[in-house]
Point group: C2
Chain length 143, copies 2
DNA sequence: GTGTATGCAAACAGTTTGCACAGAC
DNA sequence: GTCTGTGCAAACTGTTTGCATACAC
């Protein structure tokens, strides 16, 4: 676990205490898994991983935990076009670069791809989700 | 119905004939509704509208029809973070402006929100999907 | 000890599927 | 007449909820 991850986990514990939420092993496990994973797991996938440590954990608990984490702003729901919701502990605004050949997904620093104005068509912009689809350097060589 | 919509509908009829698919009133109705609507209705919403014309239509038929339309490339599935899938008959590349309060979705001409370079991090860019989340003018007033 | 979080099972919503019949060809 | 498309209901999947118990405080 990196220093940054440890820091985030401690911040989570702090916020829970402030809000009167209990620090349960399940909550810590869910957040730790999300911090460690570089992909964007579904609730089911998180559940499977928590189960390795706490075999009696319930799927409902994982759902409730990610909801709590999202409300506290520690994780973000990822807009995906699959059927189930996915979560990401990287709460910095960032874009995604997807290789259509090999499926690799790279996180992009926000504004590396493009910049969105603060207001568009009278809408007050809160966030954005940008997926750029293309061919990565190594797949370009394969052609 | 605009000339463009009529043209698209005729194209659909033509492609169906080529593929040996039957031209049923339900199919025409679903595509016509999607062509006319400027938002991105859920299957349920399309179903409600078809029912006004064909009261005995089944929800399953609407699901099957949008699947067919998508396979033929006449409509696109819209990535959304609500619980149900939405469809769009505008198959040109374009961005989306989503109101997080009321769920309204506006189409944005591609590059109205932002411009993506032809190459990012060595990736050859093919297409992109941009969703801008914010609060629409009328919801801003409601606060 | 108190009260929130958990585990379980049942409920729910959106979507898909199997099957007999209807209707486009 | 043939064979695909439809309508109905039942099945399925992802998610939420109610309730009794467990456990963090």
């Amino acid at each position: 676990m990196t220093a940054h991850q440890k820091e985030r986990l401690e911040e989570f514990v702090k916020v829970c205490k402030e809000k009167g939420l209990k620090i349960t092993p399940q909550r810590l496990a869910v957040y730790e898994i999300l911090l460690r994973r570089k992909d964007h797991p579904t609730v089911e996938e998180i559940y499977e991983e928590v189960k390795e440590i706490y075999p009696f954990v319930s799927l409902a608990t994982v759902y409730r935990t990610v909801e709590t984490l999202e409300e506290l702003g520690f994780i973000k729901r990822v807009a995906y076009w699959g059927s189930s919701v996915r979560y990401d502990a990287n709460i910095q605004e960032h874009d995604h670069l997807v290789c259509v050949m090999c499926g690799a997904i790279l996180d992009l620093k926000a504004d590396a791809g493009c910049r969105v104005p603060e207001e568009v068509n009278g809408f007050k912009v809160l966030s954005r989700s940008l997926y750029i689809y293309g061919v990565c350097p190594s797949c370009q060589k394969k052609d």
